[in-house]
Symmetry: C2
Subunit: 437 residues, 2 copies
């Protein structure tokens, strides 16, 4: 019964690393019982320049600052990469894999930029990479796809992948806060970094979409395939006008398998308020996935934070110890390094419905002229909303289009922007009509 312990090495000891150590120490006996073998942390690598407030929580004698000293540790079978970034992290992950050690990582930027390459290194060395923590730690989306939904052709994925953005949008929607105010609140509560660029620009969401869409659609998706728009230019007026028409604003990662190929994008979208994904509030994350047999499934949980991420890291670790993840990695041919390049649809021709708002001069004939330009581009109008209140000489004129080619809508918006009766750039937000599921 007394099985040999599995030795684990941690790289990085910040928020997540210290959460992982906490779990492994506090629940050691229980995990040993569950996984069939004790799991022991043998070494924690924290570069001298990375020593921080959490480093003190590392049990005595485990901490090293030197890379060689770390890798020279005997009986270290599994490496947990929690350092973040793409340079040092890539170096240590490659070194671990080349030594035949399994790697668990929470690093979405690394896998988004170098996933297929690293998976290939793993495969050459009969090692595995486990990465549930890299995307929506608290939602088991990777295992769901690789394990449960294995029988399904996936047709569409819609995700709220960034808790910072979802918190800000929830505050704007439910509390009427302006963007800057909501961001400041998020920073004060620890939901946003001092430099929030990676989150609010949609970049973090895009990293996760690259990883998850690769798995869902069996294609080697790359960052350059994903047009990406953030939430930092969203105005309260559009959130309010959308709400009047029954829509909720969300920063969505979108991947859809169409007849013309795969479409990928990240950007603010309107979703019907009664869709389950519209109910995802505050810093929670969620993913809606549509499979040809299963229909609509949705996964909801915390996407980030110390313990939800540590939960995913340790879950992967336990499954590596039990051998279930290793078998999945070795025998299922569903990993990014094994996939062909995606056949991408021409985004210009992809059709969708749009919300279009312009600041129009409050005078006769303007709506007719806007409608005429839309018509010239083949964009037909489903609904119009213009309030009586005007700001100075201008009024907010909202047009909801019928389904139209994205390129045509953009060109129409460009033409409208040139009109002498229009002030500034038109605001153009996609409306998502979820599939029947």
């Amino acid at each position: 019964m007394a099985q040999k312990a599995v030795g684990v090495g941690l790289i990085g000891c910040g928020t997540v690393g210290s959460g992982v150590v906490k779990l492994l120490v506090e629940q050691a006996e229980w995990y040993a019982q569950r996984a069939g073998r004790p799991i022991e942390v043998r070494r924690v690598l924290c570069r001298a320049e990375d020593v921080g407030p959490h480093t003190a929580q590392v049990p005595e004698g485990l901490l090293v600052h030197d890379l060689d000293a770390f890798f020279d540790t005997p009986d270290m079978d599994i490496i947990l990469e929690l350092a973040g970034g793409t340079t040092f992290a890539k170096q240590v992950v490659e070194r671990a894999l080349q030594a035949g050690k399994h790697v668990v990582t929470a690093n979405k930027a690394l896998l988004s930029a170098h996933g297929p390459e690293l998976f290939a290194v793993a495969r050459q060395n009969h090692a595995a990479i486990a990465f549930e923590a890299s995307c929506l730690g608290g939602c088991p989306v990777i295992t769901a796809m690789q394990f449960n939904l294995a029988a399904n052709r996936i047709s569409a994925m819609y995700g709220i992948f960034n808790g910072t953005c979802n918190y800000i949008l929830t505050q704007m929607t439910d509390q009427g806060q302006a963007y800057d105010e909501a961001l400041a609140d998020a920073q004060q509560l620890g939901f946003a970094e001092a430099d929030p660029t990676l989150d609010v620009s949609g970049g973090d969401t895009m990293h996760k979409l690259v990883i998850l869409a690769s798995l869902a659609f069996g294609a080697r998706v790359e960052e350059k395939h994903v047009p990406c728009e953030g939430i930092d230019r969203l105005e309260l007026v559009d959130i309010g006008l959308g709400a009047e028409m029954g829509y909720e604003i969300k920063l969505l990662a979108i991947a859809e398998q169409t007849d013309a190929g795969l479409t990928l994008s990240v950007g603010p979208c309107f979703v019907h308020a009664d869709e389950p994904i519209a109910q995802v509030k505050s810093s929670f994350n969620a993913m809606s996935l549509y499979g040809h047999a299963v229909g609509h499934t949705l996964y909801y949980g915390r996407g980030a934070g110390q313990m939800p991420t540590a939960s995913a890291v340790v879950g992967d670790l336990i499954n590596l110890v039990a051998g279930s993840y290793g078998a999945l990695f070795e025998n299922m041919a569903t990993w990014p390094d094994q996939q062909p390049a995606p056949k991408l649809a021409d985004l210009d021709r992809v059709t969708a419905r749009y919300y279009l708002r312009v600041n129009a001069l409050d005078q006769p004939g303007v709506l007719a002229r806007v409608a005429e330009v839309l018509g010239e581009h083949g964009v037909s109008i489903a609904a119009v909303n213009q309030h009586e209140q005007s700001v100075g000489q201008f009024v907010s004129l909202v047009v909801i289009t019928h389904e139209a080619a994205t390129g045509a809508v953009r060109r129409a918006a460009d033409d409208i922007a040139q009109m002498d009766v229009i002030d500034g750039e038109p605001i153009c937000i996609r409306i998502i009509d979820m599939p029947e599921g």
Copy 2:
């Protein structure tokens, strides 16, 4: 590269069985590529008395009616039990396991009644039982717990486990249909059986709770541990009065780890309308799970139906072929046969908030007398709602209690029922306050 095919035998060829055959035939090449080995259906057992409309869809030459002929089929490594029921199904599952064959089953009644016994037989014969399809086919709740949430101590589970009941309650809530009318609609749409007893009594929900709570709480939960109430006596008036106070009615399976032990129950409950689980509409299922590290997670999808169930069966099958499920089953000590009996809390002392409605004589002093009886039992009142409209001499008087011992509330309700100013039995519905997550 040309790996030997895995042979599969199907027992039962009704709705789900024919869905499984459809997937395995249509996607044969793709599954072979994903799982690393071709998967071939070698035999389909359909007893003479079970031949039905779906039997004709079985590919020629595969169908047998005789149990021995079925089990004599060579190279049949995995058995899919889709017959249902607990007698014949138990016999064939045992026989398959004793022959060292893995079993995939969608049969919740079987596992609820005989799970630990069958898991033990599997273990003795180095075979595995995979059963994602038995509980909420379209929501990967079993794998989520066994795989992703492996690092978590689960504190609470709240589930909508029955699509028939949820459809009926959604119709009552959103369309104002009476119970009988909503049930008739559900039957017409195929969401309810001709005899809906197992669904509307809460029995089907209870079966799933027995299976899922065993996994979540590491305890050998049995059917006798779960007090069970159905939806068949719910009145529209209570759904409306609850809605006025911000609550939505749901048939919930509940398991909570309290200091006094595990509490288990199935029954109609009020949940706050803004909780994610309150948004689960129509025939969809969902499970909210709270882990000590991950916090709140929710899984949403179709719980039944031909293709969602077939999706779960084939997902399990692919993971058995890939070896990942076998490793999980063999090496993780988290299965019902490996668990001790649960330490159950005394339900009488478990505290909760309650909605209490009585038909009270519309005369002075009645509210005072009802309040007095509640007070005598130590139940304190949080809110009262009495409308001006009365039916004959009687009015609906609703009391929302503060948190109180369940037994005390019941005894107070019994005493109130005896009062000469009260007509009929008080209606008593638990209000769920979800944990912070």
